[in-house]
C-alpha cells in the first residue's frame, strides 16, 4: 500500500488491511490429480495397456534372465512404458492448458508460476506411481523373479526416470500447440517404445538405430540391475551406453522445451 501514502485521505477500503490469503496449493493439486485419474482414455494408456502387455508377454515366462526371469524383464519394461506415458500426459496437458487459456485464468490468482510447476511435477509423479505400483504388484503375485535389489532399483529408476519424459511432454506440447498436442506426445511414446526395445526385443539394424532413441536408455537402465546389460538377443550393453542416452536426451528435450517457452512468450 506504499503507493497510496501520499494521497492523504483514505477510504475505508484503503485502510482495512486485508488478510493476505495464501494459495492452498495442495487443494488445487488434489483436485487436478483427481481430474487426471478419471480421464479413462488417458488412463487406459497409462495403466490398462501396459498391464495387458505384461499379462500377455510376461505372465508365466520363467526362463532365466540375469538375476531373475523373463516375467521380471517384461514387468520392468511395461511399468516403464506406463510411467513415461503418465508423465508425458500430465506435463503435456499442463503446457496445453497454459497455452489454451486456463493459464490466463491462473494468471489472475496470487499463485506463483513456480508453485504451479511444483504442483504439476507432483501430480505427474503421483500418476506415474500408479502403473509402476500396479504392474510390480501383479508381477510379484504372478511369478516375476529377481533379487530384492533388482526390485528396489528397478522401481526407483522406472519411477524417478520417468521425470525425463515430463520434459519431453512439455517440449512437444509447447512446440505443437493446440488441444491435441498431448495426444501426439503420447502417441509418439508408443512408437518410441517399440524403437527403444521396450515392447519386443529387437536385433540387427533396428537395435542399432533403437539404441539412439529416447526410451532405450531409460528402459535399459531400469532393467540394468536385473540384466547387467545383457540383451535378450545376445550381446551386452556397457553401462555408459544407457547413461549417455539418458543424458543426451535430457539435454535435447530441455533445449526443445526452452525454445518452446521462448516461442510462447514471443507471441504476447
Amino acid at each position: 500500500m506504499s503507493g497510496t501514502a501520499s494521497t492523504g485521505a483514505y477510504t475505508a477500503a484503503d485502510v482495512v488491511v486485508r488478510p493476505a490469503p495464501r494459495p492452498a496449493m495442495l487443494t488445487y493439486a488434489r483436485l487436478d490429480l483427481r481430474r487426471q485419474l478419471r480421464d479413462r482414455f488417458g488412463m487406459f494408456f497409462v495403466v490398462g495397456l501396459p498391464t495387458f502387455m505384461y499379462l500377455v508377454f510376461g505372465l508365466g515366462s520363467d526362463d532365466a534372465v540375469g538375476s531373475g526371469n523373463v516375467a521380471m524383464y517384461v514387468m520392468i519394461s511395461m511399468a516403464s512404458y506406463g510411467a513415461v506415458t503418465a508423465t508425458t500426459g500430465v506435463a503435456g496437458s499442463a503446457a496445453t492448458e497454459q497455452v489454451m487459456g486456463w493459464g490466463r485464468q491462473l494468471g489472475l490468482t496470487p499463485m506463483r508460476p513456480l508453485a504451479f510447476v511444483a504442483a504439476k511435477a507432483g501430480i505427474a509423479m503421483a500418476v506415474a506411481a500408479v502403473p509402476v505400483t500396479l504392474i510390480f504388484v501383479i508381477g510379484a503375485a504372478t511369478g516375476a523373479r529377481g533379487s530384492w535389489s533388482d526390485w528396489v532399483l528397478a522401481a526407483a529408476v522406472v519411477w524417478f526416470g520417468s521425470a525425463l519424459f515430463a520434459i519431453y511432454g512439455l517440449a512437444i506440447c509447447l512446440v505443437f500447440r493446440g488441444s491435441n498436442a498431448p495426444g501426439i506426445a503420447s502417441g509418439m511414446i508408443v512408437v518410441m517404445a517399440f524403437l527403444g526395445n521396450v515392447f519386443t526385443p529387437m536385433d540387427g539394424l533396428m537395435l542399432d538405430l533403437g539404441r539412439l532413441t529416447p526410451l532405450y536408455g531409460y528402459a535399459a537402465l531400469a532393467r540394468y540391475p536385473l540384466t547387467e546389460g545383457w540383451l535378450p538377443v545376445g550381446g551386452q550393453d556397457p553401462l555408459w551406453l544407457p547413461v549417455a542416452n539418458v543424458l543426451a536426451w535430457t539435454v535435447i528435450f530441455s533445449l526443445l522445451a526452452m525454445w518452446g517457452v521462448r516461442r510462447t512468450r514471443a507471441r504476447t
Binding site: 494521497t7 477500503a13 486485508r18 487459456g101 490466463r104 485464468q105 489472475l108
Partner: protein, 294 residues
C-alpha cells in the same frame, strides 16, 4: 479524493502482425476510474479493448505508459485480491465440473470459504455437478464470472462478458451484475453491444482504432448519437440490386427536413454499423447520405 480504482496514463501497445508490419493496438490511452463507477468500454472488434484490459490486469506489458490499480502495480492488486476479471480469452478445463473449477480457483486464492457464495451468486447451483464441456457458452461465461467473484474484489473487469449468451441469458446476466454493482463494486466492462453500454453503464468510453474517441456519461454519448433511431421500410419499387434509388432518398430527405430530421442514413441495421457511424468523426448535423450508394 480517494485512490482511483484505475489510473492509467499514456498507454501504448504495438503488435507485429503475421505479415511483419507493426499494428498499434492501443495508442496513448489515458483513463482514470474512481471507486464505485460503472464504466463501459465500447468499440467495434479490433478497437483495442481487449489489449487495454490486458494491460490494466498486468497480463500484457505496455510499450509505454503506466497503470496503477488502487495505487498498486496491477500484479500486486491481483495478488491482493482487489481486482479480478472475466476475460474473453480466458479458458476453462473441460473435464472439471463447474464446482471443481470454482474450488480449484478458490484454493489458489486461499478463499475456499467463498465457493458456495459465488456459485450461488452466479446462479450455478443447479449446474454445480456438470462437466464444463457439457455447459453452453453462456453457462461457461457465468462460470468465468463466478471465478472472478472468488477473491471478493473491489474492481471487476469484464471483457465481452455476454459472448455466447442468448438474449434471455444476457438480460439475466446484467441483472446479476446490477445487484453486484449495488453492493459498491467498481465495474468496468468491454462490449461491442451499444445496448449493453446504454442500459448498464453510467459512463461510456468509446474506443476506435486504439484510441479513446469519447469519454463521457452514457447519457451524453447517447445524446451525441441522437438517442433513438427511426427505421422504416421503403416501397419495393425504389429498391434495386445496388441499393436504394438515390433520387428517391434525396426526396425523402427534402420531405423530412422541415421536421428537423438530419443525418438520414441507410445501412445494415446493426449496432456495429451504428457505432462505426458514431466513431467515423462525421461532422455533427451532416446531411451526407452515408451508404446511399450501397
Amino acid at each position: 479524493m480517494s485512490t482511483p480504482a484505475i489510473h492509467a496514463t499514456g498507454l501504448r501497445k504495438q503488435f507485429r502482425q503475421s505479415d511483419g508490419t507493426p499494428l498499434v493496438a492501443v495508442d496513448d490511452v489515458d483513463l482514470t476510474i474512481q471507486p464505485g463507477e460503472i464504466v463501459a468500454f465500447l468499440g467495434p472488434n479490433g478497437a483495442g479493448k481487449t489489449t487495454t484490459v490486458d494491460m490494466l490486469l498486468g497480463l500484457t506489458r505496455p510499450d509505454a505508459g503506466t497503470v496503477e490499480v488502487y495505487g498498486m502495480e496491477p500484479g500486486a492488486a491481483i495478488r491482493a485480491g482487489r481486482v479480478s476479471a472475466v476475460m474473453q480469452t480466458g479458458g476453462l478445463l473441460r473435464d472439471f465440473t463447474v464446482e471443481e473449477t470454482v474450488r480449484a480457483i478458490a484454493a489458489l486464492h486461499g478463499r475456499t470459504d467463498r465457493v458456495d457464495a459465488v456459485i450461488e451468486r452466479a446462479r450455478l447451483t443447479e449446474l454445480a455437478g456438470r462437466r464444463v464441456e457439457a455447459c453452453s457458452g453462456g453457462e461457461q461465461q457465468r462460470l468465468k464470472f463466478a471465478l472472478a467473484l472468488v477473491p471478493d474484489p473491489d474492481l471487476v473487469i469484464l471483457d465481452e462478458p455476454t459472448t455466447g449468451m442468448d438474449t434471455g441469458a444476457r438480460q439475466e446476466f446484467w441483472q446479476t451484475m446490477r445487484a453486484d454493482a449495488a453492493l459498491g463494486r467498481t465495474i468496468v466492462f468491454a462490449t461491442h453491444y451499444l445496448a449493453e453500454a446504454d442500459e448498464f453503464a453510467e459512463r461510456t468510453v468509446l474506443m476506435s482504432r486504439g484510441r479513446i474517441v469519447h469519454d463521457a456519461p452514457t447519457a451524453d454519448v447517447r445524446a451525441a448519437y441522437g438517442g433513438r433511431t427511426v427505421t422504416f421500410r421503403p416501397p419495393p419499387d425504389v429498391v434495386g440490386a445496388d441499393g436504394i434509388d438515390a433520387a428517391w432518398l434525396q426526396r425523402v430527405e427534402q420531405v423530412l427536413a422541415p421536421l428537423g430530421v438530419t443525418g438520414l442514413e441507410v445501412s445494415a441495421a446493426s449496432l456495429e454499423a451504428a457505432f462505426l457511424a458514431l466513431t467515423a468523426e462525421a461532422p455533427a448535423g451532416s446531411t451526407e447520405l452515408i451508404g446511399a450508394a450501397r
